[in-house]
Symmetry: C2
DNA sequence: CGTGTTTTTGACTTCAGTCAATTAAAGTGG
DNA sequence: CCACTTTAATTGACTGAAGTCAAAAACACG
């Protein structure tokens, strides 16, 4: 594997560095992780419920989502993922996948053998700690989603989701301030918020009329971040981002 | 600390053993973890949102819950916890608590210094792996809760919750088959399912009329587990329990 | 262009929430 | 042990937020 290979895992190194202090050897070990690159088309499955994956999938570019299907045919999106996310630690470490991971857009992904992850985690405690923290942060996000879907009304749910996405994109350097890529369809937003597509459409219209946010095709323009965060009841603590990130959103009112 | 002390952490050893293979030294190291015992009354806080806990709380006996408060005063319970659960890995590892942990009943808890956890996790990879897996399983439960609250109707939500609780109690040996301790009030069930107490009351009545389950004070009697799992759309994969546990529920129809 | 998504809108329905009052338990202290 | 307070459960009547159904308009793309 040559110089090309080295760069593939850069998003992972970048992210883990923000989660726990890593030295140069740690970073080198991350970049050196064995892996195979694959690109997948939008809506392709990375893992399906019931699979027994042997590799961990790192999302290098593009967007992905985790989905669960319920009995009556409904679907719930339980999280979205962006560059640098280990999209499948859980499924590969737990043996059998309890949910689906799907590409949302076309993605580039690195598949890393599970053993290599375990080895680096315990061979290099700093890396292990970072991976563990990543797992914990994802848990924190899931908890916030439970609260979002369980206890907020539709307008807050959507506003909250848009705020979260803005912060997470900022943290990885995509999504320059107040206009950012939002590749989900309204149906997907509905599945993420526990609403129906029709209602998402109406709520989005309301948010627009309120002058808070404007949804364009494939992206979103936030006009008043503070206002959006307010009706979305959004406080970013649960994302456990490094202190630098939140500042970006101070200027939300363009 | 004498022989008494050794037994305190037994629930933890017991649980971690089911998550990853541990040798005798691993178990001894777990039982040897420094800790202080405390008992807390029902509804006392173990951690509050915003705290910066330095200790990890292990629930030795009793029941606890994680709660998040939303802007309009609503509360969402995002998980329940039972004996053997590390109720506060997330908050202590992530620095600042993004949610509350509260005793649901009177509890006995062991508070273990955060550094001791980190040391054992990386000094004894088998233990570390078990802890990591515990974190991942909790994430899996959170995802299922997102789907439960987001996409199931009220009767399924409650039925699902009751099934999950039955399985989790079985896994730690409390809750002998079909009658088990269910210490939550209807208000707490409502906060866990994203419903109102009034509606929970009505749904519980319906479940009773359907002959599936009967709620008594402080406990619940399941008359038809298969039927309950059916309307609850409950499949236990996401709990990632050892294969032995599920069998107990084969005899659900007493 | 034409075909297939995705978005948008309107009319109507329903599940669950709200309000309010009652009953039943569970403590508490004299 | 019993009045007294508090907390939890129950019930009914009414409301409302979000869902459903259905059709039209707007894109996206080969």
């Amino acid at each position: 594997m040559g110089h090309q290979t080295i760069r593939n895992l850069h998003p992972l190194a970048r992210k883990l560095r923000t989660l726990a202090p890593l030295d140069d050897y740690d970073e080198a070990a991350i970049l050196d992780l064995p892996h195979t690159m694959r690109s997948l088309d939008a809506s392709a499955y990375v893992v399906r419920e019931g699979d027994e994956p042997t590799h961990c999938c790192l999302l290098v570019s593009g967007f992905a989502m985790r989905t669960k299907l319920v009995g009556d045919g409904g679907r719930q999106i339980v999280n979205f993922h962006i560059s640098g996310d280990m999209v499948d630690l859980q499924n590969s470490m737990l043996g059998v996948a309890d949910h689906n991971v799907q590409a949302l857009t076309r993605i580039e992904a690195a598949f890393i053998p599970r053993e290599a992850i375990v080895d680096i985690a315990f061979g290099r405690p700093a890396v292990g700690k970072a991976l563990w923290i990543e797992t914990l942060v994802e848990g924190a996000i899931q908890r916030e989603w439970v609260a979002n879907v369980g206890r907020r009304k539709s307008i807050s749910r959507l506003a909250h989701l848009l705020c979260e996405f803005a912060y997470r994109l900022d943290a990885v350097g995509i999504g320059p301030e107040c206009q950012y890529t939002l590749p989900m369809t309204q149906e997907q937003l509905a599945d993420a918020t526990g609403l129906t597509p029709v209602h998402v459409n109406r709520v989005l219209k309301t948010l627009d009329e309120m002058g808070l946010v404007q949804k364009l095709k494939g992206s979103v323009q936030i006009h008043d971040f503070a206002g959006l965060a307010d009706i979305g009841d959004f406080r970013p603590t649960y994302l456990h981002l490094p202190p630098s990130v939140p500042e970006i959103h101070q200027r939300g009112n363009a």
